[in-house]
């Protein structure tokens, strides 16, 4: 299993190294997002804590998007190179299929987080509340990225290539509902209840308590990690079932054509 995880990590690393778009994904859009939010905060003369609160949303979005793309790319790269059948001809399981690229995603996500935090500290008086809260937020972001990348793969296996657009939209939808620049309590009632089902809501809320503003959700880490455990296990089961369905219907072979 370790060999197969390393195989997918190795392939993803080579893809990332040779693809100019992976540099754009890592630098261009996250930095554009962070700069626009930081400059807006300056214009509105926000306090340092308020500025840090909204910059957290921009930094989290950039980190989440880059990490989850690596996970979603596992299947998408196979489809684009029409090699899906050769991958699933091997004794590969769904866990190693996602975990390998996720490890590279964590590396890329950490780089994005560090760059955005560094620029924000330099340009917009941003500060991190400490090592433990930062690591907790990062773990929440990385595990959510694994969940989202897996969900993209399920959709692609269910609905074919037309579902690949979800790879570029899921992060925005998730974080919009989880409270990108606002506490989840600011959401309309229906969306607030949806937000309570998204693990990331709890991690953002926990992290932002250090900036003095949050939705004050009770036991955020217990609920955040608990929800992640349940949803990630559910995602792997769903992915396994989707793969089995794709083998039954012939979708797996069609994705290789």
């Amino acid at each position: 299993m370790i060999q197969r995880i390393m195989a997918f990590a190795y392939r993803d690393w080579l893809f990332a190294r040779r693809n100019i778009f992976s540099v754009v994904e890592m630098l261009f859009w996250p930095i554009v997002g962070m700069l626009s939010i930081g400059l807006m905060g300056n214009f509105l003369k926000l306090t340092r804590d308020q500025q840090a609160f909204i910059l957290t949303g921009a930094i989290a979005l950039g980190t989440l998007q880059v990490t989850q793309l690596d996970v979603a790319y596992a299947l998408l790269h196979d489809i684009w190179s029409k090699s899906v059948k050769h991958t699933f001809l091997t004794p590969t399981g769904v866990v190693e299929y996602l975990i390998g690229p996720w490890l590279i995603g964590i590396v890329r996500g950490t780089v994005v987080f560090s760059l955005l935090s560094g620029f924000s500290m330099y340009g917009f008086r941003f500060y991190l509340p400490g090592v433990v809260p930062t690591l907790v937020l990062l773990s929440g972001l990385f595990l959510t990225a694994l969940l989202m990348g897996g969900l993209v793969s399920i959709l692609v296996l269910q609905y074919g290539q037309k579902a690949e657009i979800s790879a570029w939209t899921f992060a925005y939808l998730f974080i919009l509902v989880a409270g990108i620049y606002y506490p989840a309590t600011q959401l309309p009632s229906f969306f607030y209840h949806v937000a309570l089902l998204i693990p990331l809501t709890y991690f953002l809320d926990y992290f932002r308590t250090f900036y003095g503003t949050s939705a004050h959700l009770s036991d955020p880490l217990l609920k955040g990690y608990g929800l992640l455990a349940v949803t990630i296990i559910g995602m792997f089961i769903g992915l396994k079932m989707s793969l089995s369905r794709a083998r039954r219907t012939g979708v797996l072979l069609r994705l290789s054509e």
Binding site: R11, L14, L89, G93, T249, S256
Partner: protein
Amino acid sequence: MWAVSAKEVRKTYPNGVKALQGVSLDVQKGEIFGVLGPNGAGKTTFLNIIATLLIPDAGGDVEILGQSVLRQPKAARHRMNLCSGNANFAWSLTIRENLRFYAMLYGLKNPQRERKIDELISVFSLGSYADRRFDEVSTGTKQRMALAKSMINDPELLLLDEPTVGMDPDISLKVRHHILDYQKQTGCTVLVTTHYMPEAQMLCGRVAFVRDGQILALGTPAELQTKLNAKDMEGVFLELAK
């Protein structure tokens, strides 16, 4: 124990197409067995079921070296490999990197892994192209890489789906020689689909002729020629494809 034992294999696609209608077949260990037939006969569907890429309809099953593709697919995957025509692999990876990736997926560790990759690169004359990207090499080189990949785990069962389709005659001939040499060296079982009869004649000890998802004839090329009063396998094909 058979290398491949298929019992009443049926496959109906969601669009209603009945690709296989009760195929039963036994392939001996160490033989090169051909599945022949016109386009759309069900050859590739049959091969894909054996390769665990497609699940057959309820009721049928295939055993590979005693392991069911339905109940023990993972164990079966360790023991076989597939090469199909129109080779497609990750474009931005080199030939060597692609081989390394698949070697890792089959659990090969260093130094055995790199030794195996070097050996296959040498056997398939890929040395000059080993460090070139997959999308930069010719169709013939891609196909030789596909064959090299299919042997990376030393499969006991090698599945070849139209292995020389779209190739120049001289390259096709080289590929067939590679297949024969490999089979002779390793004693593995080879199951090959083709609708190119000289290929079947050159490679296969026994063949099954498939049409409309059913086996119409089974035997050695010589037996089929005698039975159908045909002077070669082209004649057999024309007679059975009627």
